[in-house]
């Protein structure tokens, strides 16, 4: 068993030899640390995620209205038989949150969704080909912060995959 005695972290083994830094070595460390600290504080105060690694740590920082519905976004592929295949769970190398961050761009440029069908086919050669790719939002209803149990589906955009050239 190891005994951890209660000594000041700073005052232990006073007899042990100390490796010192010169005044110059101290100064350069403090100057660089001050610069990084300044970038971090400025990034948090005025910038946003694009300033990584100096942006604000804004995990769950947005206030959610207790009466507004909670949205959950999915990107799905649709096969010929109408089967839904989830694409936003890593199937094409992107996470749900990454799709959510790009939703406005994808709604404006739905042809970007078509690229996912190609990636999906490359990653899952045995799977049936996708006929369309869609972004679906599920909105859970809240009443004063408590879930009511009901939700609605909302299809934001559907992009039909164009037939490859030469096929009937």
């Amino acid at each position: 068993m190891v005994a951890v005695t209660d000594r000041e972290t700073t005052e232990q083994d006073a007899a042990a030899e100390v490796v010192h830094l010169t005044a110059g070595e101290r100064l350069i460390r403090l100057v660089i640390a001050a610069a990084i600290l300044t970038l971090t504080l400025v990034g948090t105060v005025v910038s946003d995620d694009e300033a990584f690694p100096f942006g604000p740590p804004r995990m769950y920082a947005t206030r959610a209205d207790p009466d507004a519905p909670v949205s959950s976004t999915r990107v799905v592929g649709l096969t010929d038989d109408g089967v839904e295949v989830r694409l936003s769970g890593g199937e094409v190398g992107l996470r749900r949150a990454e799709f959510e961050g790009q939703v406005p761009r994808l709604v404006e440029n739905p042809e970007l969704l078509g690229l996912l069908a190609v990636t999906y086919a490359a990653n899952h050669p045995a799977a049936p080909p996708l006929e369309a790719v869609a972004i679906i939002v599920r909105r859970y209803e809240l009443d004063d912060g408590v879930r009511t149990g009901s939700y609605v589906y909302d299809v934001l955009v559907t992009y039909p995959i164009p037939d490859p050239e030469g096929s009937p």
């Binding site: 042990a16 948090t44 990584f52 961050g101 190609v118 912060g145």
Partner: protein, 290 residues
């Protein structure tokens, strides 16, 4: 003048080299775990169409390459090799620096697809300062001001992750963030069997939001924790918080948790070679039991 010296002195309180030698091994060996097990989605970006790449400011300024399959795979294997070399403790300044630069690029690849995570600021700071310590061996009894500086800035980075999170909540959510339904939203979207019951207890998640913001705003006080056992207690408290969050919404700030481990006085746990003649006092075991 004296307060300047005291302020500067806080950064250079000597820390045993054996302590940072242990932490360094943990930090560098965590990188293969991060790449292959706990954050595998970064490597998955190798297969994503480059049209989905949304460069960060730093990617633009430094003209970092677009992450094609070849770029992602090359960075991955160079990073793994560099981290394993750094973990040996040999040539720590060289392999520590290459590991930091490659991990930084790995993070640029991670965060450039529409979602930025905030779980590794302190880990990046740790990788940046570890090479400044120089040679440190497990059994080195000496204390080092360079090691003290490294531990001090990692500690500040850990603290800032909490404190600036409070700042962000007030900036983006407003002072009324505490009265929103942010945690309800999180549990609805990511809840587990261990947490969904909280949705049916009115007020519980609401009060939790007050507690979270309060803790984050007070986090700078943790820098005053200097005694070994108090630091161990602080680490156990923070690990408990992160484990609770993980149980509830499957989010763990794993790289941040690794950076936390720099606060543990590892050299105190090394087995004493002489047979212990003194039975440890019962209060010596208190932190492990609590």
């Amino acid at each position: 003048m004296s307060w300047v010296n005291r302020f500067a002195g806080w950064f250079f309180v000597p820390v045993p080299l054996a302590r940072v030698a242990v932490f360094r091994l943990i930090a560098y060996l965590f990188i293969p775990v991060d790449v292959f097990v706990t954050t595998r989605w970064v490597a998955a970006h190798a297969g994503v169409p480059t049209e989905y790449y949304q460069p960060l400011l730093i990617g633009d300024w430094l003209s970092l390459p677009t992450p094609t399959t070849a770029v992602v795979d090359t960075v991955k294997w160079l990073l793994i090799g560099s981290a394993l070399l750094a973990a040996t403790g040999k040539a720590p300044r060289i392999w520590g620096t290459t590991t930091f630069l490659l991990y930084f690029e790995w993070m640029v690849i991670a965060m450039s697809y529409g979602k930025v995570d905030h779980d590794r600021y302190a880990f990046l700071v740790a990788l940046a300062v570890l090479p400044t310590i120089g040679v440190a061996r497990w059994r080195d009894k000496r204390r080092s001001e360079a090691a003290g500086f490294a531990v001090a800035v990692i500690f500040i980075a850990v603290m800032l992750t909490y404190f600036l999170a409070a700042w962000a909540k007030i900036r983006f959510g407003g002072w009324d963030w505490v009265n929103g339904s942010t945690l309800t939203r999180a549990v609805l979207r990511r809840g587990t069997d261990l947490s969904t019951w909280t949705l049916d207890v009115p007020g519980l998640l609401h009060v939790s939001q007050y507690l979270m913001l309060g803790f984050e705003l007070l986090s700078p006080l943790m820098l005053l924790v200097r005694r070994d056992r108090a630091r161990i207690a602080l680490v156990i408290f923070l690990l408990g918080f992160h484990l609770m969050v993980f149980a509830g919404v499957r989010i763990i700030f794993l790289p941040h948790v690794v950076a936390l481990l720099s606060l543990v006085p590892w050299e105190r746990f090394q087995l004493h070679r002489q047979p212990p003649e003194v039975i440890p006092r019962s209060d010596d075991l208190a932190p492990a039991a609590s």
